[in-house]
């Protein structure tokens, strides 16, 4: 097997006394789509932020193509970041810039290409995500799905080898969300990108993933192909797949309280 694109070893993150990530190990191979699945508060966004080097872990290492991003020189980190694109959850587009200016920002800032070349590349980038005509609009004029697409166009502006998505389908209707899934698959096939998708949407996870990793309360409880994942008998995974509520809502105290509330409205009515 080739060297992994991303190698996370023993990643531990604590905020105060709370342990958000607990010794997570994960290797992502070149050219695969890895989906990091987990419920709210499972630590998946924290893990993404550490993989892209926005925060420093309490202990453990994150290596991208063999380089430890927390111990390398600022120059090396810059070089690594040029080969990776991140599409943030709400797009993180710059509000005072047009969509085209947002997308061509990395090209203008980090390359010495001539302006006409940049304009053409920007148009192609936008066209690839289906926003060829939206370049002159401002971010606040776009719908949520279009913003996410524009963010993908910006993340892919420098032809990254590695593309990371934070909740690509959160807050989108099923049709637009399916469009995002198709876009991820298209980017993988057309540009052979290595892709990490952080999500809690099962349908989208099973559509795009080669392998699925599941986080539960800061620990990875499974890293498997999607078929093996679907057939898993791990109770936590089953609960997630079968959409079973946590027992809190079923506890007697809550039930009693509910009945009390129902009684109050009954007495008034």
């Amino acid at each position: 097997m080739a060297d992994p694109m991303i190698s996370v070893q023993g990643l531990t993150v604590t905020y105060g006394s709370r342990r958000v990530l607990d010794g997570v190990n994960l290797d992502i191979q070149p050219g695969e789509v890895m989906v990091l699945l987990g419920g709210s508060g499972s630590g998946k966004t924290t893990m993404l932020r550490h993989i892209i080097g926005l925060e420093r872990p309490t202990s453990g290492t994150v290596k991208i193509r063999g380089v430890d991003i927390n111990r390398c020189s600022p120059k090396d980190l810059k070089a690594i970041r040029r080969t990776m694109g991140v599409a943030f959850q709400d797009g993180a587009l710059f509000n005072e810039l047009t969509i085209a200016e947002n997308v061509d920002l990395p090209l203008r800032e980090l390359t010495t290409l001539a302006d006409p070349v940049i304009d053409i590349m920007t148009y192609m980038n936008l066209a690839a995500v289906g926003l060829g005509e939206a370049g002159k609009q401002m971010p606040q004029e776009l719908s949520g799905g279009m913003k996410k697409r524009a963010a993908v166009a910006r993340a892919t502006a420098l032809d990254p080898e590695l593309l990371l998505f934070d909740e690509p389908s959160a807050g989108l209707d099923p049709i637009v969300a399916a469009g995002m899934d198709d876009l991820i698959l298209f980017l993988k096939q057309a540009f052979h990108m290595t892709i990490l998708v952080v999500t809690h949407e099962l349908a989208s996870a099973f559509k795009v993933a080669d392998r699925i990793a599941m986080l539960y309360q800061g620990s990875l409880i499974a890293v498997d192909s999607k078929d093996a994942f679907r057939a898993s008998t791990n109770p936590r995974i089953r609960q997630f797949l079968d959409r079973v509520a946590d027992p809190i809502a079923a506890s007697t105290a809550v039930q009693d309280h509910m009945q009390e509330l129902a009684g109050m409205t009954g007495a008034k009515g």
Binding site: L54, R81, D90, A92, P106, L110
Partner: protein, 266 residues
């Protein structure tokens, strides 16, 4: 023990804040050459020009009106006292020296900290909350250079310019007062004022103004970068940007005025 803990914690937080200001101030200053047209990165000097318009040109009406009012107030207040001694002509000294040495730079700093200091922290705070700063960092673009440096350079250029305008408006308002009360005409008033102020008064005033500019832009941006949480945090940072920049401006003012005072004594 509780008391010691609280005092020690406060001191450490204060030192960390000042340390943050210093680091940010230095890295912002180091990034300014990359803003210059021709040698710098493309698009940066246009961003700087936009900031200069926002910090300087747009603030001019307010600085003008406030300075004129303050000049008139100063002339009236000193006039009532000096009239008793038949020394009305010293009103011109007070207004001229008071504005060039002190009031011009200080009033300008207050206006700019209220208008632009809060705007810096709100803008950067929003960028933090919506992950835009994170996006810049993951794109290998330095947020200090991209966001802070244009504001830095624009403030350093425009705030001393605004102070000069403030001096002019204050002194002219004094002229209005003198004309109304003693029928001294503008030409004579100006000759008298220019005799009473020295060039180094003007120079020291502008030097202070430069220091105020550095304080306002750095406090505003640091409060923005330190924003954590949601939209309500953005409002809090804007408030503390104004509060702390005003506070540090006054501290710096005392410090520099004391130095100039000692220099004049020798």
């Amino acid at each position: 023990m509780k008391f010691l803990e609280a005092v020690g914690g406060g001191v450490i937080r204060g030192l960390a804040y000042v340390g943050g200001l210093t680091i940010q101030g230095w890295s912002g200053l180091r990034a300014t050459p990359r803003l210059l047209p021709g040698v710098g990165k493309r698009g940066r000097w246009q961003a700087t020009l936009r900031q200069m318009a926002a910090i300087g040109v747009d603030a001019l009406p307010m600085v003008g009106i406030m300075s004129a009012c303050a000049g008139f107030i100063l002339a009236m207040q000193t006039g009532t006292e000096l009239r008793k001694f038949g020394a009305m002509q010293y009103v011109m000294d007070v207004v001229g020296v008071g504005f060039t040495r002190e009031l011009g730079p200080l009033l300008t700093a207050f206006v700019v900290s209220g208008r632009s200091g809060s705007a810096f922290s709100a803008e950067i705070g929003t960028m933090v909350v919506t992950n835009e700063i994170d996006a810049l960092r993951t794109m290998a673009i330095d947020p200090v250079e991209f966001v802070l440096a244009p504001k830095y350079l624009a403030a350093i250029i425009t705030i001393p310019c605004l102070s000069i305008m403030s001096n002019a408006f204050g002194i002219l308002a004094g002229a209005g007062f003198m004309y109304i009360t003693t029928k001294i005409r503008l030409g004579m008033y100006l000759r008298y004022v220019f005799n009473s102020i020295e060039l180094r008064d003007v120079f020291f005033g502008l030097l202070k103004s430069l220091v105020f500019a550095i304080i306002i832009v750095n406090v505003g941006c640091l409060e923005g970068f330190r924003t954590r949480g949601g939209p309500d945090a953005v409002g809090r940072s804007a408030t503390s940007a104004v509060v702390w920049s005003t506070f540090f401006v006054i501290l710096a003012d005392v410090f520099f005025t004391a130095i100039f005072y000692l220099m004049r004594m020798e």
